[in-house]
Amino acid sequence: MAAPATVPSVVFPYRDLLGIEGLTPEEITLLLDLSERYTEANRRPGKKRKTMRGRTVINLFFETSTRTRTSFELAAQRLGADVINMQVADSSIKKGETLVDTAVTLNAMHPDVLVVRHPESGAVKLLSEKVDCAVINAGDGSHEHPTQALLDAQTIRARLGRLSGITVAICGDLAHSRVARSNILLLTTMGARVRVVGPPTLVPATFERLGVEVHHNMERGIADCDVVMMLRLQTERMQGSYVPSTREYFRFFGLDYAKLGAAKPDALVMHPGPMNRGVEIDSEVADDFGRSAIQTQVEMGVAVRMAVLKVLTRNLEARQRAQANGNGAVMGEAS
C-alpha cells in the first residue's frame, strides 16, 4: 500500500504537539495508523515525498541529542521539507539571550515547524506561545517527550498487535523521566495497565496519582508483564545521590535474564536509548533480537515523526488557507 495522500477523517485539531496530555484515544490512533503506513513506505526505495515541499523545519535543540535530532531530520527530509539544525546549547544562550528572545528571533524567519528540545520543563510551551508556526516538543525537562511515547506505542502495536489490555512495566528513573510521563499518559489513555518500578528515590509513591501501580521490587513489578520498558539512568544520579552505586543498582533493578523470567515468556524489552549496558540493562538482554524491540523503536521513530509532521502541516495549510480567505483560524490551541 502506498503512503497516504490524505489523512483519515479523525480530526487532530492542534497547531502544536506539546505533549500526550489531553490527546484522545482517537487522536493517538490517528497518528499511529498514519505512522504504520509511513513505516511500510520507509522500507521501500524512493522514500522522498512532496508533502512538505517548500516548508522549513528548524530543529532547535537546547540540549545535545543525536538520535532524536537525526530522527526528526530524516522524517522532515523524507517529507520533502528543508531542514535546519540549531544547537543552541552552545551559542545564544551563553550570550545571555532569553528563550523568549530566541523564539521571537526565529519566528521572524518564518519557519513552518519548530522541533524543540529544552532542559527545562514547560520551556517548549513557553516558546510556542511566542511563535506563529507549529511546534513539536522533542523533550522538555522532566515533563514530556510525546514523539518518544508515540514511537514506543507504535513499536508495541507492531509487535503485539494491540495496546488495550496489555500490562507494561516502566522501570528505572521515573522521577526525572519525560519519556516515562508521556508513556504513562499514552498507555493509560489507550487502555493499557501500567506499572512503574524502581527504588523510592527514583519512583516516588506520588506516581499512583497518575493511575499506575508503584513497585519497588523488580521481580514483582515485572511479573506477568507484556512489555518491560527500561529507562536510562543518568550517570550523575547513580553516585550516591539517588542510588548508591551502579553496581548496587544493577544488582536490584538492572534487567537481566534472571529478572526477566518473571515477565511473560514472550515479553517485549524496550529502551529509549542510549543504553547504559550493565547499569539498567544487561547486554545479553539488550542484544536478544527475539525479545528486544530496541531496533524497532528506532525504526518507528522516523515514521511516527513523519506522521506528526504530516498532520501538523495539514493543519498549517488549513490555517493559512483560512487566513488567505480572510477568516480567522478555527484551530484549537496547543494540546
Binding site: 520543563s121 514547560g122 513557553l126 522532566s142 506516581f207 496519582r209
Partner: protein
C-alpha cells in the same frame, strides 16, 4: 483618583464612618477628627452639631474607617533593584492598597546588614513622604547565615527585627546564637522557615501537580521541620521568634502547640496561601511561583483555620516585585514571589465575606497584631494614636487589574480575579496619600 490634603490647621473631620478599632473591638457608626499627625477624637455623634470650623471634611458615607494596614513584610528593591520597585513606587502601591506602614526585608543590594543602609532607607522614606517605612536588619552579615550582624546598633538606628529575609537561618548554631544575642535587646528574630537542603532547586509544592508538570518539588515537611527545630531553640534560649509566611497545615499545628506551651512565638501568612493552592501553577504560570510554594488544598484550608482561631497572628503582603524578564522564563528559571501591596486588603476581606472571620478579627491581623509584633505604636483607632487611617468599602466588587497597579512590577497571579472590598482613602500622619474620587470630599 485625586489627592486631597488636610485643611489649613491640618484638621480633618471624617463624618458618617463605620469606626473600627480591632484592638478595642470598637465597631460603631461615628465620626473622627485628626489634628496634625494624630487622632484627636472619635466616637458616635462626635460632630452631631456639625464639623469644626476650618477643618477639611470627609464624608465617609458609611464606609469603614480603620487603622491603616501595617504590612510586616515587603521587599522594596531599593537600594539595588530600582528597575523593579523603589520606595516611592512601593509607597504609591501601598497607599492604593490601604497600607500606611510597611516593614521591608533586608534582601536589598547591598543588604540591610549595616547601619548606613538603615539610614539610607530612612532618608529616602523621608524624601518620599509617603507610607511609613520601617526596616528589618539582617540577622547575619551579607545574609550569608554565618556571622551575626551588629544587632544592637542596627536596632538603635531603627531596625525593627532581624531576619535573613528570603533565606532561612539554616545553621542551628547560628540560629541559637542569633536568638540568644537578640534577646540582649529583646529583639525579634524572624525566620524564613524552610529547610534548604530539602527545598533546594525546588520549583513548586511536591505532589501530583509537580509530578505531572515534571517540576521538582519542595516537600511541605521542609517548612515544619525548620519551625520545630527553631521552637526547640526558642525554648532553650528564651528568645523571641516569628515564623514568616507559613503555608502548611503541619506548621499551623506546630505553632498552635508551641503557643499552648507558652512560648514567645508568633507567625504570619500571606494572602496567596489562604486564597490559592498548587493548582494555580496550572500550565507553568510563573506568576504562581512563590517561596514557600502554593500548597495543597488541605494546607490552604488549615491556614484559614489558623487565622480564624488566632494561631496565625498576622497577614503580610509578602510583596515581591519582579519585572517581566524575571518571570517570562521557563518555570525553573523564573524568580519567586508576587506583588501584594495592592491586593492585600481585598484578598484578606474574602475571609470575612466567606464567614471565616469577623471584620475586626481580620483587621487585627492586618493592623495592631503586626504592629505589636514589631513593637510599633501603630494600628489603633484611638485618641492620641497616629492618624494613619484607611477608609474602605468592604463590599465593593471589582476585578484585579495588574495594569492599574501603582507598583513598578505587575507580577500577580490574581490577574482579573473578582474580589470584594477596596480602599477608598489612605491617610498617613493626617495627610491623605490616596483617595478615590467617588468619596464625597469638600472643605467645610
Amino acid at each position: 483618583m485625586s489627592v486631597v490634603t488636610g485643611g489649613p490647621a491640618g484638621r480633618t473631620a471624617y463624618l458618617n464612618a463605620r469606626l473600627l478599632d480591632p484592638a478595642s473591638g470598637l465597631d460603631t457608626a461615628g465620626d473622627l477628627l485628626t489634628v496634625g499627625g494624630e487622632i484627636a477624637d472619635l466616637g458616635p455623634g462626635l460632630f452631631k452639631d456639625g464639623a469644626p470650623k476650618g477643618a477639611a471634611v470627609v464624608d465617609c458615607a458609611g464606609a469603614c474607617l480603620a487603622p491603616g494596614l501595617v504590612d510586616m513584610r515587603v521587599q522594596l528593591r531599593e537600594p539595588g533593584d530600582e528597575h523593579k520597585e523603589t520606595i516611592e513606587t512601593a509607597s504609591a502601591a501601598a497607599s492604593a492598597g490601604g497600607v500606611t506602614a510597611m516593614a521591608c526585608l533586608p534582601d536589598t543590594n547591598p543588604p540591610i546588614d549595616d547601619v548606613a543602609v538603615v539610614e539610607f532607607i530612612a532618608r529616602r522614606a523621608r524624601e518620599v513622604r509617603g507610607t511609613k517605612v520601617f526596616c528589618y536588619g539582617a540577622a547575619t552579615r551579607g545574609l550569608e547565615g554565618a556571622q551575626l550582624t551588629e544587632m544592637g546598633l542596627l536596632a538603635e538606628t531603627g531596625a525593627v527585627a532581624f531576619t535573613d529575609g528570603g533565606r532561612a537561618i539554616a545553621n542551628a548554631q547560628v540560629m541559637r546564637r542569633a536568638l540568644l544575642y537578640a534577646s540582649t535587646f529583646d529583639a525579634l528574630i524572624v525566620q524564613h522557615p524552610q529547610e534548604p537542603t530539602l527545598a533546594r532547586d525546588g520549583d513548586m509544592n511536591a505532589g501530583e501537580v509537580a509530578l505531572r508538570l515534571g517540576l521538582s518539588g519542595i516537600p511541605p515537611v521542609a517548612e515544619v521541620m525548620m519551625i520545630e527545630r527553631d521552637l526547640r531553640l526558642v525554648e532553650s534560649t528564651g528568645g523571641r521568634y516569628h515564623a514568616a509566611h507559613i503555608s502548611t497545615a503541619a506548621s499551623v499545628e506546630a505553632i498552635r502547640a508551641a503557643k499552648a506551651r507558652g512560648l514567645r512565638v508568633t507567625c504570619d501568612t500571606a494572602p496567596p496561601y489562604f486564597t490559592l493552592n498548587e493548582t494555580a501553577v496550572g500550565d507553568y504560570r510563573t506568576f504562581a511561583k512563590l517561596d514557600p510554594p502554593l500548597r495543597a488544598e488541605a494546607d490552604r484550608e488549615a491556614i484559614v483555620e489558623g487565622l480564624a482561631d488566632g494561631t496565625i497572628d498576622a497577614i503580610a503582603s509578602d510583596h515581591a516585585p519582579h519585572d517581566q524578564d524575571s518571570k517570562r522564563l521557563p518555570f525553573a528559571q523564573a524568580e519567586y514571589g508576587i506583588v501584594g501591596l495592592e491586593t492585600l486588603l481585598p484578598l484578606s476581606l474574602a475571609l470575612v465575606h466567606k464567614g471565616r472571620m469577623s471584620l475586626n478579627a481580620l483587621l487585627a491581623c492586618l493592623t495592631v497584631r503586626p504592629a505589636e509584633i514589631l513593637g510599633l505604636p501603630l494600628g489603633r483607632l484611638a485618641k492620641g494614636a497616629p492618624a494613619d487611617l484607611v477608609l474602605f468599602d468592604p463590599d465593593r466588587p471589582w476585578r484585579i487589574d495588574p495594569d492599574q497597579f501603582r507598583s513598578k512590577s505587575k507580577n500577580s497571579p490574581f490577574d482579573d480575579a473578582p474580589v470584594q472590598g477596596r480602599a477608598l482613602r489612605t491617610v498617613v500622619a493626617g495627610r491623605t496619600l490616596f483617595a478615590v474620587e467617588t468619596v464625597a470630599a469638600a472643605v467645610a
